[in-house]
């Protein structure tokens, strides 16, 4: 599980710097192939690692900007600020979770 988290965090971050956001499914998928021994663990690893990465990066960007942009974005979307974070977390976490689970299931390890 630890290995999966490391692969997802480093791999996704590296890819997102240069490629479109959806390429995160590749490191997540690979992490699912080699890491977890249970399906739910693969899912959770993707959820936590990818979602955590998106949340952490968003927090960092927000901190650098003193929160001005997030406030503007929240009002553009007519949402509270926490919901903008939640939406970001959701996109990263859910995509990562299913990609990781798919990797795990394709190799079919475990019981």
């Amino acid at each position: 599980m630890k290995a999966s988290v490391v692969i997802i965090v480093l791999g996704s971050w590296g890819l997102m710097l240069f490629l479109p956001w959806w390429t995160i499914i590749f490191p997540c998928f690979i992490a699912g192939l080699i890491g977890p021994d249970r399906g739910y663990k693969a899912f959770v690893a993707g959820l936590v690692a990818s979602g955590g990465l998106w949340l952490a990066l968003a927090l960092f960007a927000d901190f650098q900007n003193s929160g001005v942009l997030t406030g503007q974005m929240a009002s553009v979307m007519d949402l509270p600020v926490w919901a903008v974070y939640a939406a970001t977390l959701f996109v990263g976490a859910v995509t990562g979770a299913f990609a990781c689970l798919a990797g795990y299931l394709v190799l079919g390890r475990g019981r």
């Binding site: 479109p20 956001w21 995509t95």
Partner: protein, 810 residues
């Protein structure tokens, strides 16, 4: 089973990747938008403290120093003119790229290409107006200009150098919201921006409204109530000025022409709220003994702002002021020797012509007793997510045909001075470098449209004002109505020679001023148009400037913030005395009596936290409407042009004139003035109660709702409900989303000092602290001292010493 599960998980993963990458109805694609590495989270734009950068390579000939001060104003120091304009393009794009793109698209009629079919009609309108036609005509002469084409190209290269090194991560927020990317810039884009300015300031026309009034009420009504030279005007060039030249003669005046009505024809009246103030005071009226120049331009207030502050320095120039994002040079500002400002001219430079076609092919039209060939342009309007829309625009020698009635073989074409080839930006290129009056005047000759009152002052002590632009030679009344497109008497054949335009230098009264009002009295030998701004602001400036001989810069700041309404000062006492004559005056509630008392003791200052401005304005507006509706209700022709406040007030002051008006134009019917004024009052109070509730919600600032509107009309990025003073007819001229877009005062001492502010911020990025940081100081009537550095070293040392710009107020 195992494979079904694996396949299912894979499918869900792919589906998520696709769904989050797609725009779903109004919801933008969430994946790219929320991506914390390149999505909106990274569109914060500059948060910088003061700093400096050296620009090199990218196509620059040498290195360029850019020093950003604490308000993020770039001070650009270049070693040649190519580099200074390259760098101007580069830094402007860095802060205002989305604004430049969207405004150029708006002018060129390509909004639908990124925003979808909802914008097709707006794009069509721009193309029928000939916006691109004008820009292309201008490009041809720019290409022949040995100074301006290199300037345009350098600026363009600078903009593109910025665009080319952007990745999705760096795109302005608005691109991420609509899922689009910036298009490359071209010199043509800059000329479209110029067309936008011409469109804003010089494309309104009262011709249709005036033809309707003439049809219903005749020339006598027009001459009495919609006069070209209003009785109370205080012209820009003082009355009785001599004009020592032989004027060019216009064509013979033809018989009055009665146009047919085109049902879908729709023209914008010139906006009475887009105006400006500018004046220059000579040294013998100032404490320092040196001239003072003041300018504030009242334009649509937008975020990002229409202006971008900048200092440009090259071996033959050092200039500071505001630029238009998308165009090189400084438009209003000062250099080490001279300062200048502008106000718009209301001169008529757009005529509407009725066109008669020979047959349904529209290939020929009537002119001068012959059938002449039309030409046409097939406009292809690209549409995001749909098929391109095709629109054919027909052209006559007058200009493009905006409206057509194919059944009756009629059309309306517009001839607009902005359609003509001109290198207007050359004026600013020259003035930015002017060392004195001669060079200033030489520079003016290139500027054709939108005609401006250029106010000037220099360190040698000269002050001057030129009502400058290209004006067709007109017979009196030409262009006031819809013109006969078949009669050559309505053609534009000759233009007023530039040394014949109204101008004045170092006048005896010791100041020059303009506030968009009539440029001259009727003795001036050319007819420029019928409708200039009403006299109020101009008269107020002249009233105050005539009073003293010890003006300081602080007085100039103060005068820009003057809230006195001459409309209220002349109109309200009449309303009050007429009301007293009516029986309902005795039956007012105690609250209304209180209002009347407040109005009686009011000083006519349009203050945001008072209710007197609200009551006075609304009462007069309703009264005016009622007076003229007695006349206009007798015709169903629309639109019609209404007489203005000042003519209405004159009428209210003269019972005989009023009765004659009713006799001559309302068939003798109509209500006595006290009756109308009493009704106006009643409706004022009931409307305020209905719309705003109790009187504590009637404050003028809440009624005005001064706001600075996001260019993409995104409400969350708009700043509305700004608590501030002012009104359209006051010098502090604000109304809704129109107001002082750049305030500037320059003191032309040995070392020039200047102050300025605009309602916005240097960065166009909503995530930047510099997005709207000037709005509050602007609303509070504060100014910033402008830092005009002699050299890059001085600028760097200023920021390194950690200075902070301290606001000043009068």
């Amino acid at each position: 089973m195992k494979w079904i599960k694996a396949g299912g998980a894979l499918l869900i993963t792919l589906a998520l990747a696709i769904v989050f990458s797609s725009q779903l109805g109004p919801v933008p694609a969430l994946g790219p938008l929320l991506n914390p590495v390149s999505g909106f989270w990274q569109s914060d734009g500059p948060q910088h403290k003061p700093h400096h950068v050296w620009l090199t390579g990218m196509g620059l000939q040498d290195s360029v120093l850019v020093v950003y001060d604490d308000r993020r104003v770039p001070h650009i120091f270049a070693r040649n003119n190519h580099d200074v304009y390259f760098a101007q393009g580069y830094v402007t794009a860095q802060d205002r790229l989305w604004q430049m793109d969207i405004q150029a698209r708006s002018g060129a009629g390509t909004l639908a290409e990124i925003l979808g079919e909802g914008l097709v009609e707006i794009d069509k309108e721009q193309r029928r107006k000939g916006m691109m036609f004008g820009a292309l005509n201008k490009l041809e002469v720019y290409e022949q200009d040995e100074l301006l084409m290199p300037t345009l190209t350098a600026y363009t290269d600078g903009v593109n150098a910025w665009i080319n090194q952007l990745s999705h991560r760096d795109y302005p927020l608005e691109y991420k919201l609509i899922g689009h990317k910036p298009a490359p810039w071209t010199p043509l884009h800059t000329l479209v921006m110029h067309m936008n300015m011409a469109s804003t300031l010089a494309s309104g026309t009262s011709a249709a409204g005036m033809s309707n009034v003439r049809e219903a009420l005749g020339d006598d009504f027009i001459n009495r109530f919609l006069p070209a030279y209003p009785a109370d005007m205080d012209p820009i060039i003082p009355e009785n000025t001599q004009w020592p030249f032989n004027p060019v003669s216009p064509a013979e005046v033809p018989d009055a022409f009665s146009p047919v009505t085109l049902s879908d024809a729709n023209y914008a009246f010139p906006s009475p709220y887009l105006g400006s103030n500018s004046w220059a005071v000579s040294g013998y009226r100032t404490e320092s003994g040196r001239p003072l120049l003041s300018n504030d331009m009242h334009l649509e207030l937008s975020l990002p702002s229409i202006w971008y502050e900048v200092q440009l320095s090259s071996p033959d120039m050092n200039v500071y002021g505001v630029s238009l994002p998308g165009a090189p040079t400084v438009i209003v500002g000062f250099n080490s020797d001279v300062a200048w400002g502008v106000t718009n001219s209301g001169a008529n430079v757009l005529d509407v012509y009725e066109i008669t076609f020979e047959d349904e092919s529209l290939s020929r039209y009537r002119h001068d007793g012959q059938w002449k060939e039309t030409s046409y342009v097939v406009e292809e309007i690209p549409v995001a997510g749909g098929h391109a829309v095709i629109d054919t625009v027909w052209y006559t020698h007058h200009g493009p045909v905006g409206f057509l009635d194919r059944e009756n073989l009629k059309g309306q074409a517009t001839q607009w001075i902005a359609h003509r080839a001109s290198v207007d930006l050359r004026t600013f290129y020259e003035i930015n470098r002017a060392g004195g009056y001669t060079e200033f005047v030489e520079g003016l000759q290139y500027f054709d449209v939108p005609a401006q009152n250029f106010t000037y002052a220099d360190r040698e002590g000269n002050i001057s004002l030129w009502h400058n632009g290209l004006f067709p030679v007109r017979w009196e009344g030409m262009g006031d109505f819809i013109s006969d497109g078949s009669d050559p008497a309505y053609d534009w054949n000759e233009f007023i020679p530039r040394d014949h335009v109204p101008n004045i230098t170092n006048p005896e009264r010791g100041f020059v001023s303009s506030a968009n009002q009539n440029p001259t009295d009727p003795e001036y030998p050319y007819f420029l148009g019928r409708f200039f701004a009403s006299y109020e602001r101009g008269a107020r400036i002249n009233e105050v400037l005539s009073e003293r001989y010890d003006f300081t810069y602080a007085d100039m700041l103060g005068l820009q913030l003057d809230n006195v309404s001459l409309t209220a000062r002349t109109g309200l006492p009449l309303l009050l005395s007429l009301f007293e004559e009516h029986s309902s005056y005795e039956e007012l509630s105690s609250e209304e009596q209180q209002f009347i008392e407040q109005l009686r003791s009011w000083n006519y200052e349009m203050l945001g936290d008072a209710i007197e401005p609200t009551l006075s304005r609304l009462w007069l507006t309703k009264t005016r409407r009622k007076i003229w509706d007695q006349v206009y209700s007798r015709t169903d022709r629309r639109p019609v042009r209404y007489p203005d406040n000042s003519r209405t007030i004159q009428l209210m002051a003269d019972a005989d004139d009023y009765q004659m008006m009713l006799n001559d134009f309302a068939g003798g019917n109509g209500s006595p003035l006290p009756e109308i004024v009493a009704q106006g009052w009643k409706e004022t109070i009931s409307q305020l109660r209905e719309e705003r509730g109790t009187p504590d919600n009637w404050n003028w600032a809440d009624v005005q709702n001064v706001r600075v509107v996001h260019l993409g009309r995104i409400d969350a990025l708009t700043r509305a409900g700004i608590q501030t003073h002012g009104a359209s007819e006051a010098l502090n001229s604000k109304r809704g989303s129109v107001g002082p877009s750049w305030r500037m005062v320059v003191s032309l001492e040995d070392e020039i000092r200047a102050w300025g502010v605009y309602p916005g911020g240097q960065s166009g990025s909503p995530g930047s602290v510099h997005y709207d940081d000037f709005i509050q100081p602007w609303a509070d009537g504060e100014f910033f001292p402008l830092h005009f550095f002699e050299s890059g070293e001085e600028a760097i040392s200023w920021i390194q010493q950690g200075h902070q710009t301290q606001r000043v107020s009068p």
